[in-house]
Amino acid sequence: MKSNSQTKFLAENYSALHGLNAVPVGFALFLVSLWANVVQYPITNFLLPIVLVLGFLLLSLVIDKYYKNTFGEVKPISARRRFYWIASSIWGLLGLVAYWVDITLGLPMSFIGLLFALMFLFDQPKVSVPLNRFSAVRLVASLCIIFVSITPMLFGKSWWDILGVRTTIIGVTMFIGVLIVLQGVMWHIFFVKSLPVKETKDE
Protein backbone atom coordinates (compact mmCIF):
# COMPACT_ATOMS: atom_id res chain seq x y z
CA MET A 1 0.00 0.00 0.00
CA LYS A 2 1.35 3.47 -0.93
CA SER A 3 1.27 6.55 1.30
CA ASN A 4 -1.80 8.79 1.22
CA SER A 5 -0.05 11.55 -0.78
CA GLN A 6 1.39 9.06 -3.32
CA THR A 7 -2.02 7.46 -3.81
CA LYS A 8 -3.63 10.88 -4.28
CA PHE A 9 -0.96 11.94 -6.81
CA LEU A 10 -1.35 8.73 -8.82
CA ALA A 11 -5.17 8.95 -8.82
CA GLU A 12 -5.29 12.65 -9.74
CA ASN A 13 -2.79 12.29 -12.58
CA TYR A 14 -3.70 8.73 -13.62
CA SER A 15 -4.28 9.33 -17.34
CA ALA A 16 -1.64 12.08 -17.56
CA LEU A 17 0.93 9.52 -16.39
CA HIS A 18 0.15 7.13 -19.25
CA GLY A 19 3.44 8.03 -20.93
CA LEU A 20 3.13 5.82 -24.01
CA ASN A 21 0.28 8.05 -25.23
CA ALA A 22 2.94 10.66 -26.03
CA VAL A 23 5.09 8.28 -28.12
CA PRO A 24 3.09 8.54 -31.40
CA VAL A 25 3.01 12.34 -31.02
CA GLY A 26 6.80 12.43 -30.60
CA PHE A 27 7.39 10.05 -33.52
CA ALA A 28 5.02 12.02 -35.77
CA LEU A 29 6.74 15.32 -34.88
CA PHE A 30 10.18 13.81 -35.51
CA LEU A 31 9.34 12.09 -38.79
CA VAL A 32 7.34 14.99 -40.26
CA SER A 33 10.24 17.33 -39.37
CA LEU A 34 12.68 14.86 -40.95
CA TRP A 35 10.51 14.80 -44.08
CA ALA A 36 10.52 18.64 -44.14
CA ASN A 37 14.31 18.51 -43.95
CA VAL A 38 14.82 16.23 -46.95
CA VAL A 39 11.89 17.13 -49.22
CA GLN A 40 12.50 19.10 -52.42
CA TYR A 41 11.04 22.63 -52.34
CA PRO A 42 8.51 23.74 -53.53
CA ILE A 43 6.58 20.84 -52.01
CA THR A 44 4.09 19.30 -54.42
CA ASN A 45 3.30 15.98 -52.72
CA PHE A 46 2.03 15.85 -49.11
CA LEU A 47 1.09 12.15 -49.23
CA LEU A 48 3.93 10.94 -46.97
CA PRO A 49 3.28 13.27 -43.99
CA ILE A 50 -0.48 12.61 -44.25
CA VAL A 51 0.11 8.82 -44.19
CA LEU A 52 2.52 9.26 -41.26
CA VAL A 53 0.02 11.30 -39.24
CA LEU A 54 -2.80 8.80 -39.97
CA GLY A 55 -0.53 5.90 -39.00
CA PHE A 56 0.34 7.54 -35.70
CA LEU A 57 -3.33 8.35 -35.01
CA LEU A 58 -4.02 4.63 -35.39
CA LEU A 59 -1.10 3.83 -33.08
CA SER A 60 -2.55 6.30 -30.52
CA LEU A 61 -5.85 4.39 -30.54
CA VAL A 62 -4.03 1.07 -29.99
CA ILE A 63 -2.05 2.54 -27.06
CA ASP A 64 -5.23 4.04 -25.56
CA LYS A 65 -6.90 0.62 -25.71
CA TYR A 66 -3.86 -0.99 -24.10
CA TYR A 67 -4.04 1.43 -21.13
CA LYS A 68 -7.80 0.95 -20.74
CA ASN A 69 -7.51 -2.84 -20.81
CA THR A 70 -4.45 -3.05 -18.57
CA PHE A 71 -4.79 -0.18 -16.10
CA GLY A 72 -8.48 0.75 -16.25
CA GLU A 73 -9.95 4.23 -16.39
CA VAL A 74 -10.10 7.09 -13.94
CA LYS A 75 -12.33 10.05 -14.73
CA PRO A 76 -10.86 13.27 -13.32
CA ILE A 77 -13.14 15.80 -11.60
CA SER A 78 -14.96 18.12 -14.04
CA ALA A 79 -12.96 21.22 -12.99
CA ARG A 80 -9.75 19.39 -13.89
CA ARG A 81 -11.15 18.26 -17.25
CA ARG A 82 -12.26 21.83 -18.04
CA PHE A 83 -8.83 23.14 -17.06
CA TYR A 84 -7.22 20.57 -19.38
CA TRP A 85 -9.29 21.70 -22.40
CA ILE A 86 -8.70 25.41 -21.69
CA ALA A 87 -4.96 24.80 -21.22
CA SER A 88 -4.77 22.74 -24.45
CA SER A 89 -6.51 25.52 -26.42
CA ILE A 90 -4.17 28.17 -25.00
CA TRP A 91 -1.08 26.04 -25.77
CA GLY A 92 -2.41 25.51 -29.32
CA LEU A 93 -2.92 29.24 -29.89
CA LEU A 94 0.48 30.08 -28.44
CA GLY A 95 1.97 27.38 -30.71
CA LEU A 96 0.56 29.09 -33.81
CA VAL A 97 1.93 32.47 -32.67
CA ALA A 98 5.36 30.95 -31.88
CA TYR A 99 5.43 29.22 -35.29
CA TRP A 100 4.59 32.52 -37.02
CA VAL A 101 7.35 34.34 -35.06
CA ASP A 102 9.89 31.63 -35.95
CA ILE A 103 9.22 31.63 -39.69
CA THR A 104 8.73 35.38 -40.22
CA LEU A 105 11.07 37.19 -37.82
CA GLY A 106 14.13 34.90 -38.13
CA LEU A 107 15.35 35.62 -34.60
CA PRO A 108 18.41 33.70 -33.31
CA MET A 109 16.26 31.47 -31.07
CA SER A 110 13.27 29.23 -31.54
CA PHE A 111 10.02 30.36 -29.94
CA ILE A 112 8.41 27.00 -30.73
CA GLY A 113 11.21 25.40 -28.71
CA LEU A 114 10.81 27.83 -25.81
CA LEU A 115 7.05 27.20 -25.83
CA PHE A 116 7.59 23.43 -25.64
CA ALA A 117 10.05 24.03 -22.77
CA LEU A 118 7.28 25.93 -20.91
CA MET A 119 4.83 23.11 -21.68
CA PHE A 120 7.21 20.56 -20.18
CA LEU A 121 7.35 22.73 -17.02
CA PHE A 122 3.68 23.64 -16.60
CA ASP A 123 1.62 20.91 -18.26
CA GLN A 124 0.03 18.30 -15.97
CA PRO A 125 1.53 16.91 -13.81
CA LYS A 126 3.58 20.11 -13.59
CA VAL A 127 7.04 20.35 -12.10
CA SER A 128 6.70 20.47 -8.34
CA VAL A 129 9.05 21.31 -5.49
CA PRO A 130 10.38 19.14 -3.89
CA LEU A 131 11.07 17.30 -7.12
CA ASN A 132 9.59 13.85 -7.56
CA ARG A 133 10.82 11.58 -10.35
CA PHE A 134 8.15 12.82 -12.77
CA SER A 135 9.09 16.44 -12.07
CA ALA A 136 12.81 15.73 -12.41
CA VAL A 137 12.34 14.27 -15.91
CA ARG A 138 10.19 17.25 -16.93
CA LEU A 139 12.72 19.76 -15.59
CA VAL A 140 15.71 18.14 -17.34
CA ALA A 141 13.75 17.86 -20.62
CA SER A 142 12.72 21.50 -20.36
CA LEU A 143 16.29 22.72 -19.75
CA CYS A 144 17.53 20.64 -22.72
CA ILE A 145 14.89 22.19 -25.02
CA ILE A 146 15.75 25.72 -23.83
CA PHE A 147 19.42 25.04 -24.60
CA VAL A 148 18.70 23.67 -28.10
CA SER A 149 16.30 26.59 -28.79
CA ILE A 150 18.95 29.23 -28.08
CA THR A 151 21.86 27.47 -29.86
CA PRO A 152 21.62 29.86 -32.90
CA MET A 153 22.29 32.72 -30.46
CA LEU A 154 25.32 30.89 -29.03
CA PHE A 155 26.85 29.30 -32.16
CA GLY A 156 25.37 31.33 -35.04
CA LYS A 157 22.25 30.84 -37.17
CA SER A 158 23.89 28.44 -39.62
CA TRP A 159 25.31 25.99 -37.07
CA TRP A 160 22.52 23.49 -37.88
CA ASP A 161 24.17 23.03 -41.32
CA ILE A 162 26.90 20.99 -39.59
CA LEU A 163 24.22 18.44 -38.66
CA GLY A 164 22.65 18.56 -42.12
CA VAL A 165 19.55 20.34 -40.81
CA ARG A 166 18.03 23.07 -42.99
CA THR A 167 16.60 25.43 -40.39
CA THR A 168 16.47 25.99 -36.63
CA ILE A 169 12.74 25.22 -36.47
CA ILE A 170 13.27 21.81 -38.14
CA GLY A 171 16.19 20.99 -35.83
CA VAL A 172 14.27 22.03 -32.73
CA THR A 173 11.09 20.10 -33.62
CA MET A 174 13.13 16.97 -34.44
CA PHE A 175 14.86 17.25 -31.07
CA ILE A 176 11.55 17.80 -29.24
CA GLY A 177 10.05 14.79 -31.04
CA VAL A 178 12.87 12.53 -29.79
CA LEU A 179 12.55 13.98 -26.28
CA ILE A 180 8.77 13.40 -26.22
CA VAL A 181 9.31 9.74 -27.19
CA LEU A 182 12.01 9.25 -24.52
CA GLN A 183 9.99 11.03 -21.85
CA GLY A 184 6.90 9.00 -22.74
CA VAL A 185 8.76 5.69 -22.36
CA MET A 186 10.37 6.81 -19.07
CA TRP A 187 7.02 7.98 -17.67
CA HIS A 188 5.42 4.69 -18.54
CA ILE A 189 8.17 2.84 -16.66
CA PHE A 190 7.86 5.22 -13.67
CA PHE A 191 4.07 4.93 -13.73
CA VAL A 192 4.14 1.12 -13.69
CA LYS A 193 6.78 1.12 -10.94
CA SER A 194 4.80 3.68 -8.90
CA LEU A 195 1.76 1.43 -8.66
CA PRO A 196 1.58 -0.69 -5.52
CA VAL A 197 2.68 -4.31 -5.65
CA LYS A 198 -0.30 -6.57 -6.38
CA GLU A 199 -1.57 -8.81 -3.60
CA THR A 200 -1.06 -12.44 -4.49
CA LYS A 201 -4.07 -13.97 -2.77
CA ASP A 202 -7.39 -13.11 -1.17
CA GLU A 203 -7.55 -12.64 2.59
Binding site: M1, K2, N4, T7, K8, L10, A11, E12, Y14, T70, F71, G72, E73, V74, K75, P76, I77, S78, L195, P196, V197, K198, E199, T200, K201, D202, E203
Partner: protein, 107 residues
Amino acid sequence: MSNVFEEIAGLDKLIHEPARLAIMTILSTVESADFLALQRLTGLTSGNLSVHLSKLVEGKLISYDKKIVGKKTKTQVKITAKGQQALEKHWLQLETFRANVQKSKPE
Protein backbone atom coordinates in the same frame (compact mmCIF):
# COMPACT_ATOMS: atom_id res chain seq x y z
CA MET B 1 -4.53 10.09 28.15
CA SER B 2 -7.91 8.39 28.47
CA ASN B 3 -9.25 10.95 25.96
CA VAL B 4 -6.76 9.65 23.42
CA PHE B 5 -8.10 6.11 23.77
CA GLU B 6 -11.65 7.40 23.49
CA GLU B 7 -10.64 9.15 20.29
CA ILE B 8 -9.20 5.90 18.88
CA ALA B 9 -12.37 4.05 19.80
CA GLY B 10 -14.40 6.82 18.16
CA LEU B 11 -12.77 6.37 14.72
CA ASP B 12 -15.05 5.10 11.98
CA LYS B 13 -13.78 1.53 11.49
CA LEU B 14 -15.46 1.26 8.12
CA ILE B 15 -13.09 3.93 6.75
CA HIS B 16 -10.12 3.36 9.04
CA GLU B 17 -9.20 -0.03 7.55
CA PRO B 18 -6.10 0.69 5.32
CA ALA B 19 -7.47 -0.79 2.08
CA ARG B 20 -10.82 1.00 2.43
CA LEU B 21 -9.06 4.25 3.39
CA ALA B 22 -6.97 3.95 0.19
CA ILE B 23 -10.13 3.34 -1.90
CA MET B 24 -11.89 6.32 -0.30
CA THR B 25 -8.81 8.54 -0.79
CA ILE B 26 -8.64 7.64 -4.49
CA LEU B 27 -12.36 8.23 -5.04
CA SER B 28 -12.26 11.55 -3.17
CA THR B 29 -9.79 12.99 -5.71
CA VAL B 30 -11.55 11.87 -8.92
CA GLU B 31 -15.06 11.88 -10.37
CA SER B 32 -15.12 8.10 -10.81
CA ALA B 33 -12.80 5.14 -11.27
CA ASP B 34 -13.44 1.74 -12.76
CA PHE B 35 -12.81 -1.56 -10.96
CA LEU B 36 -9.54 -2.27 -12.80
CA ALA B 37 -8.07 1.17 -12.02
CA LEU B 38 -8.97 0.75 -8.33
CA GLN B 39 -7.31 -2.64 -8.37
CA ARG B 40 -4.11 -1.20 -9.90
CA LEU B 41 -4.06 1.82 -7.58
CA THR B 42 -4.59 -0.21 -4.39
CA GLY B 43 -2.79 -3.42 -5.34
CA LEU B 44 -5.73 -5.47 -4.00
CA THR B 45 -6.87 -8.74 -5.55
CA SER B 46 -10.25 -8.59 -7.28
CA GLY B 47 -11.77 -10.70 -4.49
CA ASN B 48 -10.52 -8.42 -1.69
CA LEU B 49 -11.43 -5.29 -3.63
CA SER B 50 -14.99 -6.60 -4.19
CA VAL B 51 -15.39 -7.30 -0.46
CA HIS B 52 -14.15 -3.82 0.54
CA LEU B 53 -16.31 -2.13 -2.10
CA SER B 54 -19.39 -4.05 -0.92
CA LYS B 55 -18.79 -2.89 2.68
CA LEU B 56 -18.41 0.72 1.54
CA VAL B 57 -21.58 0.45 -0.57
CA GLU B 58 -23.45 -1.01 2.44
CA GLY B 59 -22.32 2.02 4.46
CA LYS B 60 -23.56 4.27 1.59
CA LEU B 61 -20.07 5.82 1.33
CA ILE B 62 -19.64 4.93 -2.35
CA SER B 63 -21.95 4.02 -5.23
CA TYR B 64 -21.64 1.63 -8.17
CA ASP B 65 -22.67 2.04 -11.78
CA LYS B 66 -22.48 -1.20 -13.77
CA LYS B 67 -22.59 -1.06 -17.56
CA ILE B 68 -22.13 -3.73 -20.21
CA VAL B 69 -19.57 -2.59 -22.77
CA GLY B 70 -19.18 -5.13 -25.58
CA LYS B 71 -18.98 -8.48 -23.81
CA LYS B 72 -17.56 -7.09 -20.57
CA THR B 73 -19.21 -5.60 -17.50
CA LYS B 74 -17.72 -2.24 -16.61
CA THR B 75 -18.07 -1.03 -13.03
CA GLN B 76 -17.70 2.69 -12.38
CA VAL B 77 -17.30 3.58 -8.71
CA LYS B 78 -18.02 7.01 -7.21
CA ILE B 79 -17.78 8.47 -3.73
CA THR B 80 -21.10 9.73 -2.31
CA ALA B 81 -21.61 13.05 -0.50
CA LYS B 82 -21.91 11.06 2.74
CA GLY B 83 -18.64 9.29 1.92
CA GLN B 84 -16.84 12.58 1.24
CA GLN B 85 -18.04 14.01 4.56
CA ALA B 86 -17.11 10.83 6.44
CA LEU B 87 -13.60 10.87 4.92
CA GLU B 88 -13.04 14.53 5.81
CA LYS B 89 -14.27 13.87 9.35
CA HIS B 90 -11.95 10.87 9.61
CA TRP B 91 -8.85 12.87 8.61
CA LEU B 92 -9.83 15.62 11.05
CA GLN B 93 -10.18 13.05 13.84
CA LEU B 94 -6.76 11.60 12.99
CA GLU B 95 -5.17 15.05 13.01
CA THR B 96 -6.77 15.90 16.37
CA PHE B 97 -5.65 12.54 17.73
CA ARG B 98 -2.07 13.18 16.54
CA ALA B 99 -2.05 16.69 18.05
CA ASN B 100 -3.34 15.34 21.40
CA VAL B 101 -0.69 12.62 21.48
CA GLN B 102 2.01 15.25 20.81
CA LYS B 103 0.64 17.39 23.65
CA SER B 104 0.54 14.53 26.15
CA LYS B 105 4.16 13.44 25.46
CA PRO B 106 6.35 13.81 28.58
CA GLU B 107 8.98 16.63 28.19
